[in-house]
Symmetry: D2
Subunit: 288 residues, 4 copies
């Protein structure tokens, strides 16, 4: 027996410790029975829509149809932004290296990190700080100014969720914010985060003297915040959404064929800026 | 310039080669415009359901509502099977190592490979061989027998999609096959793969003298085959589904806390069966 | 043409931009020629030891034999700490899911993140802050106290590199620090980080009233700092080292066999602490 | 208690089953003691060279210095082949997405699969089939012809380990084969795989009417086979080697900066070859 931390526990206690080591409130399984957050799985299949299942798994309750529809719209919006995105390119490159779809998706999803996949989460954190400052009321311009300044002091001048290297107004954000407005008017969401998003956009434009429109990360951050998701789950929901594009591109690449596809065709060189050719013997340091 | 394969192409030609190196029929992007399979993204947001978007991305057309509902049921069914599944356990372990959700999901999705995530794909391949042998007609018992024998000869006696180490009848499979039956009666699907699945189940039971019921991999394989997906996409759809559970467990583990969580609590030893303690000097081989 | 940011550049300029997009000072390749940091690869093969090649790749110069030997000792020390470590367990679990060694290693290496793989890096950052405070002189006890207090204020009371959940004195750390001492006496390293490490150990013991001995992360942090590596490379070197164990366990598991190996045998249950069984219909919220 | 397979085992038996679930002959750990293949770790640190530790971990014994030197030469040879290689490009792209080195390395190592990382393994399998056919004697030309034909029939005409899209003679392979020859002359290796490699090269050139020289995958396959490694470990050793380049490029990219680096600069478009712009409403299929 190896690797055992000294212990005076009985076998029964150690066994119980092992069971508790893996504790979950998500899924309960017995032979012939699978309960998801308490619901028998067979009652959910064919009844719950996929976004409702996502919500149930992440939060433990079932959303209203209108909440589910808003979540679904946000998840539909983010599936793909083409092979210039590192995640999509990596998925395609991976397939040409011999990987099946699980491996291609893993390598690609892995890079949806702070910079490539974290903008929505960071925007949600900003929205929540504004909400805290507003004390449950509709945020005022001053709340937004103060939190923007604090954010810039801490993280620099790039405000996640606003501006796009490529698009001016992002057509996805425009449409999503329309849906948020509709949902607010129907009482589905409260609208404070929507208001904060609009104030951030207004403030940035005023400071810059040019529009820095909300992008998809900002719009989904507003939606996920309005629906009450924690910021880190904003990243998670984006990953579930972008996984669709990652899979579609992996599959398309597989059908196209190709072996060991690098980032650029071999006819285009890369730049070497290191030392000129040299010989080992002449420069090797003497042994100490 | 480094790494350049010799070429006589002009800059214009090499540039075009670079553009063609990344060719896709999935997404077309211009400033302010994103087209998904030709559809402006803003027309899809709030209009397409998530499973419809999955279908559009993977196949290029939009399914009927009934087809989408069947796909959705299958995707809802597979989200989770608890922490005894390596994928779920890895997601939770990863979080305690410091990973954000993208990293936890990547490490976990990566292991949905041939054995843990490929059963559905393999079952779909079997179903399609039966369909080919049946020549477009409803499969006969003999078609199934012949392809089962061929499968066993090639891959061994475990038939993917049938039997479960844990459940007898799998409640997910029972419910899904009910939905397939309904869809067939409504003309949504043809029912040949459903029939093949039933014949496999019947044949295995007759051979074994005991039921080896269809499991969730078998039921989703029937559905994805009825809907016309390629087998490898069966694995991809399973990954999209199981990703929900992987994310939910990552998030739950994060809230529970814990650092560097191994597979078992430190009070339970592992077994060492290697050489007894020995000293390097006595056994080291002489230099040649 | 899709995804193109508007530009007035000529094809020649855009081609050059592509070449510069991938710029490196590490490796220069022409047909028949591979230069590593300027050295023809064929001059290095059979001449450089593996740790020397690691150093050359990471830093651009070749270390002295004594520096290389110290680096090698640290890399040898960290190869494995058994299947209670999440990285090792994940590697083994991955193989039973059907992954080849590259996939098993990827899933495992991925979790060597801040908590499971970052202790050495964090300890190096602490050592370098102490060095900065000491202004190039041997650190005094007060320097160490001040930086320890600052570290605890920022990150909490766990000091990375000291104490072990399992070992008292870590036999790897004891041996490595002996080698550092030898290297300092021979003039290979300066010894300021060694001194800082000893002062941290002393201070922690005095504060706690009990020994909190330096562990392997602390000892390798001292060595890598003495050799002049940046802290993030401390994590990288640990990964190169631990990869050996990850590969060895993947291979051993493959020879043992097993399918879909979860964290615990199926005879040991996990704990479900979620809602009791409930029915969807009764609790479903009405549509808004 | 959830997920428990019915069992009549006692707690003591179930606990033992858990310990046996994780069985290894590689590392034995007790408080204050770490044994690697039976050797106390502190006896190995500062004594074993890194390639010797790799060998000990993978195989359980310590190689001779000459065997270790040959292994080391092969591991030094494969560290990098520039950013046109998908693995290296992915490592760099990953860093610009916000990943630390462990994540960048994981995404990159993951793609060292059958096509990008499996050539050496496949070549080793070919060499071992030739060795089996030769019955322990030096392989004859006929043995090589027969196994080449069988390989081509099974896998197609690309022979892994021979030919290079970029180099003519691969300077790494030339140097490595020189070292194999030296080792054979000194009795370190038997030379049968070296001979087989030469015969393959000769046969391919004769069939093609032009040289298809052995590349680095072929040369390392010869070396690892001569040293007695299993083919899958050939892939593993390549990964340990290439991990050095993957880490070096991740680190260089981090110092260069850059955010969300795609495969090509945004000034170079990709090609869209999908459907022209269309509207959802007109084409949507009617509900069934």
């Amino acid at each position: 027996m190896s690797g055992k931390k000294p212990s005076t526990a009985t076998p029964q206690q150690r066994l119980q410790e092992a069971s508790q080591w893996w504790t979950t409130g998500i899924v309960d399984i017995e032979p012939g029975k699978i309960g998801i957050r308490g619901y028998p799985i067979q009652e959910l299949i064919g009844e719950l829509r996929f976004p409702e299942m996502v919500w149930l798994m992440l939060r433990g309750d079932v959303p209203s149809p209108a909440q589910s529809a808003l979540l679904e719209a946000a998840m539909v919006a983010g599936v793909d932004h083409g092979p210039h995105a590192p995640s999509i390119a990596i998925s395609r490159m991976a397939v040409t290296c011999g990987l099946p779809v699980n491996g291609a998706m893993a390598s690609a999803i892995n890079v949806l990190d702070d910079v490539h996949g974290g903008a929505g989460q960071q925007c949600m954190e900003l929205l929540q700080r504004i909400a805290t400052r507003s004390g449950g009321n509709e945020p005022a311009a001053g709340d937004v100014e103060a939190e923007l300044d604090a954010f810039i002091a801490a993280h620099g001048k790039i405000i996640p969720g606003f501006g796009h290297r490529f698009h001016g107004p992002d057509p996805r954000a425009v449409r999503l914010m329309q849906l948020v407005r509709d949902a607010r008017e129907q009482g589905v969401v409260g609208g404070h985060h929507e208001k904060a998003g609009a104030l951030i956009e207004h403030t940035l434009a005023a400071r810059k003297g040019a529009p820095i429109p909300m992008n998809i990360d900002g719009a989904t951050a507003v939606i996920y915040s309005e629906l009450g998701f924690a910021p880190e789950l904003g990243r998670g929901l984006f990953i579930l959404s972008r996984s669709v594009g990652i899979l579609a591109h992996a599959w398309e690449q597989k059908q196209q064929g190709g072996r060991i596809k690098g980032p650029m065709p071999p006819g285009i060189p890369y730049t070497y800026n290191g030392p000129a050719a040299r010989s080992l013997d002449r420069e090797r340091p003497p042994a100490t």
